[in-house]
């Protein structure tokens, strides 16, 4: 009797500490405070929306998806501690996106964990860290990237520059870490190949999410006589750069990765009309009508700052759901196997999870800011119009990844 009682308590304690056996735990490790919090908080809302959608439809093979959030303050060290905690708390998939430096730390740790704990693998779903190395030199079986990498996006941007003979002088300003350096390197090589006549008049690397006023950098851009700026800046670094540019009356073409990110369009305002370009997988004026997910997302998060910005997270969860159905199991190793090479149709065209390096190939869209769009961004009255759509298959680049599959 007594042992049974104790066993009951032990069970109750175990049940309280760990999620119920029928939960599928996803760990979300991203900045939720500090200078990059706006990006993390926005993605967190996307995760809530898309997991609820799957749960409402019966869950992942009948298991309810639970998202645990961990604040890593964009620090690789902090992320490793959080990752350990997440795995202890039963996470089977780790989501991270902000900061390629962080992704490098997590991808290494996940690989190490999986090698040491066969049968208890975790997957790393990278939704925004786009350093090409992650699917090349550093690729491994447990890492999947759902965002196009720096080189794929730069190919799209430089193709655009190639067709614009008015561009003569380009200035590169980027964040001083792996991602920013990858953007600068890609811009250098691709411009040299596609437009050898273009002069790169400046190359700047500034501290990541630490600059409070970009005026000194803008003065430098002005002095260089650049007509075009290429930047991979994101979150506060993007909007503060726009703000300083607007204050100084800087009129250049902006070729950006994240110029449509939270707060950036209101920061540049009318100055960006016709000059601000971005490469993304989607924007809210791509279709003449709002997509059902966008409408439902807006309904759930009615604040004007909340947009369905991460269209790729929609793709991510569609693929995850399909993989779970195909594998008939929620075991991470089986999910990974099912995801490899998976193809799916999206409203923008087909997409495919490359088997050779686990990079998602999805349609990319180059768009320009306009003041004549049906839907605007954050109540600014401005929105993006599509210049060009690139089909998923045309975004593929060669890889040096040598994928090692578990035997």
């Amino acid at each position: 009797m007594r042992t049974r009682f104790l066993a009951c308590i032990a069970f109750a304690v175990a049940a309280g500490a760990r999620p119920a056996a029928a939960d599928f735990v996803i760990a979300f490790i991203d900045p939720l405070s500090g200078g990059a919090a706006s990006a993390g908080v926005s993605a967190q809302k996307h995760l809530a929306y898309f997991t609820d959608k799957i749960n409402a439809a019966g869950g992942l093979n009948g298991e309810k998806i639970v998202v645990n959030s961990y604040d890593n303050k964009v620090s690789p060290q902090e992320s490793l501690i959080m990752l350990k905690k997440a795995i202890d708390e039963g996470a089977r998939i780790v989501f991270q996106g902000n900061g390629s430096s962080v992704a490098h730390a997590i991808t290494d740790a996940v690989l190490k964990h999986n090698e040491r704990n066969p049968g208890k693998e975790v997957l790393f779903f990278n939704y925004a860290a786009v350093d090409p190395a992650l699917t090349n030199e550093k690729c491994h079986y447990w890492h999947f990237r759902f965002d196009a990498d720096v080189d794929m996006k730069m190919t799209a941007l430089t193709d655009d520059i190639k067709g614009n003979p008015k561009i003569k002088k380009v200035y590169l300003i980027n964040q001083d870490y792996s991602f920013g350096k990858a953007v600068a390197a890609a811009a250098n090589t691709m411009l040299k190949a596609k437009r050898p006549d273009i002069q790169i008049v400046g190359e700047e690397l500034h501290p990541l999410q630490k600059v409070t006023d970009f005026s000194p950098y803008v003065a430098k851009i002005k002095a260089s006589g650049a007509d075009t700026v290429i930047t991979g800046n994101w979150s506060n670094d993007m909007l503060l750069l726009f703000k300083a540019g607007k204050d100084a009356g800087l009129h250049v073409n902006w070729y950006t990765y994240y110029g449509g990110g939270l707060g950036s369009v209101p920061a540049i305002g009318k100055d960006g009309v016709g000059t601000l370009k971005q490469v993304t997988e989607y924007h809210n004026n791509f279709f003449p009508q709002m997509q059902p997910d966008e409408a439902a997302f807006k309904k759930r998060f009615p604040d004007k700052n909340d947009e369905l910005f991460y269209w790729r997270l929609r793709s991510t969860f569609l693929l995850l759901d399909a993989a779970a159905k195909k594998a008939k199991s929620n075991d991470p190793a089986k999910l990974a196997n099912a995801l490899e090479g998976m193809k799916m149709d999206t409203p923008l065209g087909p997409m495919e999870m490359r088997a050779d390096n686990h990079q998602l190939l999805q349609p990319l869209v180059v768009s320009t800011l306009s003041d004549k769009t049906k839907y605007d961004i954050e109540g600014s009255g401005l929105g993006f119009v599509t210049d060009r759509k690139i089909d998923a298959k045309d975004t593929a680049l060669p890889t040096i990844c040598k994928m090692q599959r578990p035997s």
């Binding site: 939720l32 405070s33 500090g34 200078g35 919090a37 706006s38 908080v41 001083d176 400046g202 700047e204 690397l205 500034h206 501290p207 630490k210 600059v211 409070t212 006023d213 005026s215 000194p216 950098y217 003065a219 430098k220 002005k222 002095a223 506060n236 909007l239 503060l240 703000k243 204050d247 100084a248 009356g249 800087l250 939270l262 707060g263 209101p266 700052n305």
Partner: protein
């Protein structure tokens, strides 16, 4: 020429903003011996208050009311917090203000959210003050300069020329004597804390839209303000002014200079091979190293001249 002029202007503006922040801090530090970690948080409160008030009563009234609210907050912090902790010594005081900075940051997040708020330059002052070589110079930056210089003049005169200033100065060095002469030193402390907080609040009103109003803004500027007061010398208003300008201008110019150690050595006729272990370090441009320059200055200053530029006692 163009770059030099604008770097100078940007440097001066940044320096003057630093002065607005550090003048209040140095006042509090010299008077009460409290390194107030919550000072930058009060600056942040100023930014948020002015944003909120600006929507209700307009920009110009907010420019006055927001600092007053910060002064009230400062007075309350001193009267109901610091004074109680004071008995337990300096460490307790520092820990108290340190904890307070976190509390204020969390309160701000609860009130206005984690994302940067849309604290745009108010329409009444959103125009170019002048144009030089095609680059416009926004009026709000000119206003910022004027307010900061006015603040310096006010503080300087108030301390040197008024009776209250004399008493505060006396209380700096001889609190017991001032107290024995019948002055209410604790009340003086509340007053100084309130003035310091009001100055931080005023800096916040301007800094709010010049920079970015978000819960992290206190952390972004907090450390550099400490550098300013140490370099300038504890308790010295002119010292804080000179140090702010110095740091503002040095940092801004450093960003504009694209020379690296390699270039310097090349100028002296030495070339470093790409394979050399020093190549990577020497290849760092001054522009990239700009953010650490103030802290380098802090370290050098503490070694060479611990009392700072204009200070009267060692740090």
């Amino acid at each position: 020429m163009e770059l030099v002029t604008f770097s100078l202007l940007n440097g001066v503006v940044y320096g003057l903003l630093l002065f607005m922040l550090s003048s209040g801090l140095t006042l509090i530090l010299s008077m009460m011996g409290v390194l107030n970690f919550a000072h930058a948080s009060v600056f942040m409160l100023g930014a948020y208050f002015s944003y909120q008030l600006g929507r209700w009563i307009g920009f110009w009234p907010a420019l006055v009311v927001a600092p007053l609210l910060c002064a009230l907050a400062g007075a309350a912090i001193e009267r109901f917090g610091l004074r109680k902790v004071h008995a337990s010594g300096h460490v307790a005081e520092i820990l108290f203000t340190f904890g307070l900075s976190y509390v204020i940051a969390e309160l701000v997040i609860m009130g206005w959210g984690r994302n940067p708020i849309e604290n745009r330059v108010p329409a009444v002052i959103d125009f170019a003050a002048f144009k030089l070589w095609g680059t416009s110079y926004p009026f709000y930056k000119a206003l910022m300069m004027a307010i900061s210089v006015g603040m310096f003049a006010f503080l300087y005169l108030a301390f040197k020329k008024t009776r209250l200033g004399l008493i505060i100065q006396a209380a700096l060095t001889h609190p017991q004597m001032v107290s024995a002469l019948g002055h209410d030193v604790p009340r003086l402390f509340v007053l100084v804390f309130a003035i310091g907080s009001a100055l931080a609040g005023l800096a916040g009103v301007i800094g709010g839209f010049a920079l970015l109003t978000e819960p992290n803004m206190a952390n972004a500027l907090g450390p550099i303000v400490f550098v300013v007061i140490v370099v300038g010398g504890l308790g010295s208003i002119p010292g804080a002014f000179i140090a702010s300008m110095l740091i503002g201008i040095i940092q801004t110019f450093a960003v504009a200079i694209d020379y690296s150690g390699l270039d310097l050595l090349r100028g002296m006729g030495v070339t470093i091979a790409r394979t050399s272990p020093f190549h990577e370090v020497l290849a760092i441009k001054l522009a990239q190293a700009a953010p650490i320059i103030p802290y380098l200055l802090l370290v050098v200053m503490l070694i060479v001249r611990p009392r700072g530029l204009m200070g009267t006692r060692d740090t």
